[in-house]
């Protein structure tokens, strides 16, 4: 049971990052490889505001979300928007460039340095016990925040004007400007929301694993991305389902004593899902027209 709690923690972090991947992919069919690094930067923001400015939970949340959103929008504006009509692969390479830049910029000695840093604890810790399973207040906060945000996002996509515009862009990129919707704004919003969620992911991550290093975004980002694909990329419910599934499998693997094979699980699951149902567990299969 204790392992299930752990899996829920990890799954929440994956889910928040996976949502960013899936939103951006759903709208412009582009794998934003720099997304994992936005998460990493958010982790560093939390580290800084907590260690230097002695912020509490709400302060850290606010700064992480704002910082990540700003970063996401700037990246989109500077690096991706000029390539809107270029081949998709150029965009992908640019994303790899942005990702390399963020990692190594943060690793500069004058910025943060390449050594991992320990994040001081900044939320009160108390332990609850329900039916023999121990919860800490941190775990409750994480689960609560993640669930609230996912429900909010679901409501946003379903019921607001902007959310409807997003779904419209996702289903027909070319027709949307004809309906008087500003595509650039929609894309920027998607990046802002996705990055903001990655920011929350960064905050929650450092609450559970109080350590930040410049390259932590690579593995976590990739796993989250896999979660998005497994669940059906472009589908926000799929991303959440995929994230919890992968987290559960990883934790189970570690609990079974095969911790060195841990990384292979997610990737193996990915290949399996792609072979059996390429559009993902909850994805819609799009028939190709000739």
């Amino acid at each position: 049971m204790q392992q299930v709690v752990n899996a829920l923690m990890l799954g929440s972090v994956y889910a928040l990052i996976a949502l960013g991947y899936t939103m951006v992919y759903g709208i412009i069919r582009f794998i934003n490889f720099a997304h994992g690094d936005v998460f990493m930067v958010a982790g560093y923001i939390v580290f800084n505001v907590v260690a230097l400015l002695k912020f509490g939970f709400w302060g850290a949340l606010f700064s992480a979300v704002m910082g990540a959103m700003l970063l996401g929008v700037i990246i989109e504006r500077v690096a991706y928007r000029p390539l809107r009509n270029a081949p998709k692969i150029s965009l992908l390479i640019t994303a790899i460039g942005v990702s390399l830049f963020l990692e190594n910029f943060v690793a500069l000695p004058v910025v943060m340095g390449s050594m991992p840093k320990v994040v001081p604890s900044f939320i009160p810790v108390s332990v609850y016990s329900i039916a023999g399973v121990r919860f800490t207040s941190a775990q409750l906060i994480i689960l609560g925040t993640a669930i609230v945000l996912m429900v909010l996002l679901g409501w946003f996509i379903r019921s607001t004007k902007l959310g409807r515009a997003m779904r419209a862009v996702s289903s027909d990129f070319a027709a949307v400007p004809l309906m008087g919707i500003n595509v650039d704004n929609v894309i920027s919003t998607a990046f802002a929301i996705g990055s903001g969620l990655a920011g929350v992911g960064g905050l929650l991550y450092v609450i559970v694993y109080p350590m930040v290093d410049p390259f932590m975004g690579i593995m976590i980002g990739t796993k989250a991305f896999i979660a998005a694909v497994v669940g059906g990329i472009g589908n926000i419910y799929g991303a959440v389902a995929g994230a919890y599934l992968i987290a559960l499998m990883e934790v189970a693997m570690v609990a079974a004593g095969y911790s060195t094979w841990r990384d292979a699980v997610a990737f193996g699951l990915l290949i399996l899902v792609l072979l059996v149902k390429p559009s993902g567990l909850l994805g819609k299969f799009q028939k190709e027209k000739v």
Partner: protein, 330 residues
């Protein structure tokens, strides 16, 4: 007929110059072993970039698993050469490594029946990471600690690297301009149309992967000779991105582009180290040319290249030497 003869001659002379100049400069001590080793690195990067270009640029199969193919080649080569460290076994070991890699390429080629585009890229990326995890757990080849090759610098010869690179690129160029190559281009452009004119698209895709993986394996073997030490992390999907960067930076679908891309890639990364030696004379420059800044600058240059030349440096064009006959007539 005569014109082609002269052209070939000119090409051979050019090759000879490119081969001899570093050799002589090195022999007379004008360039350091370091620069020569950079040139060797360019050789196997060229093989790898061109082979990836064959898979992705010519046959249109998005592959992010290049590093795994190289890794198979490198590890198989390293394992064999460690048992028999002599010249007789060098080429058999290299070829065996390449064949093992080609077999992996065949296995990767199979799912292309179902997957295409981004999904294929993701699947190959996953395969690459699984390869890394498998190697990390294989104690025969050192596992996560890495694998030391006890061959010293016997095979670390410029002529060897250069010769293999020229031979491989030449073979791949011939593949591109053969019937196979044209079939691959047809599949890339539109596989349904290709199928309707009688091309076996599945077989073509699998062959593209097999050939590409074979040469990636050769490049991997050379990289093993080059560094003398293999570590699973040097074959992770991050490395696959690097080869993709070379191909795209040079220009997708252009063999010369991949050569240029490999050269520019190494030049940007290693040139920075050289620049550092010069920059110590300028106070302000010296402070920002520390090693930590290397990749920061590299990524900035990469982003700028992609923003201003989204189709790559060569933009799909070829050097005249690498063009096929039918293109020459135009």
């Amino acid at each position: 007929m005569e014109r082609v003869g002269i052209k070939k001659l000119r090409f051979l002379v050019l090759l000879l110059i490119v081969f001899l100049v570093p050799q002589i400069l090195y022999g007379t001590g004008l360039i350091s072993p370091y620069i020569l080793s950079i040139l060797m690195e360019i050789c196997f990067f060229c093989i790898s970039a061109v082979s990836l270009n064959l898979v992705f640029g010519i046959a249109g199969q998005f592959s992010l698993g290049q590093a795994a193919f190289m890794g198979v080649g490198a590890y198989v080569f390293g394992y064999i050469i460690n048992q028999f460290p002599n010249w007789w076994m060098f080429f058999p070991a290299l070829i065996t490594g390449a064949l093992a890699s080609a077999f992996l390429g065949y296995l990767v080629g199979l799912p292309t029946l179902r997957l295409k585009g981004d999904y294929l890229g993701i699947a190959t990326l996953a395969l690459n990471q699984i390869f890394v995890v498998v190697i990390q757990n294989l104690n025969v080849v050192g596992g996560a600690r890495g694998f030391i090759l006890n061959i010293g610098s016997t095979f670390r010869q410029w002529w060897l690297f250069f010769g293999i690179a020229v031979l491989s690129v030449w073979i791949m160029r011939n593949v591109v301009y053969s019937n196979w190559g044209r079939t691959m281009v047809a599949v890339r452009e539109d596989d349904i149309a290709a199928e309707s004119v009688g091309i076996d698209t599945t077989r073509t895709k699998i062959w593209a992967f097999v050939i590409g993986a074979f040469f990636a394996g050769i490049a991997g073997g050379l990289s093993a000779v080059y560094s003398g030490f293999l570590h699973p992390s040097s074959f992770s999907f991050i490395q696959s991105f690097n080869y993709m960067v070379m191909v795209i930076m040079g220009g997708l679908g252009s063999l010369s582009g991949s050569l240029v891309g490999a050269f520019v890639y190494v030049f940007l990364l290693e040139g920075f180290r050289l620049a550092k030696d010069w920059a110590i004379y300028f106070p302000l420059l010296a402070s920002i040319t520390q090693n930590e800044y290397r990749i920061v600058f590299f990524s900035l240059v990469l982003i700028i290249i992609m923003l201003y030349a989204p189709k790559g440096i060569m933009g799909g064009k070829e050097f005249s030497m690498l063009k096929g006959k039918e293109l020459e007539k135009k």
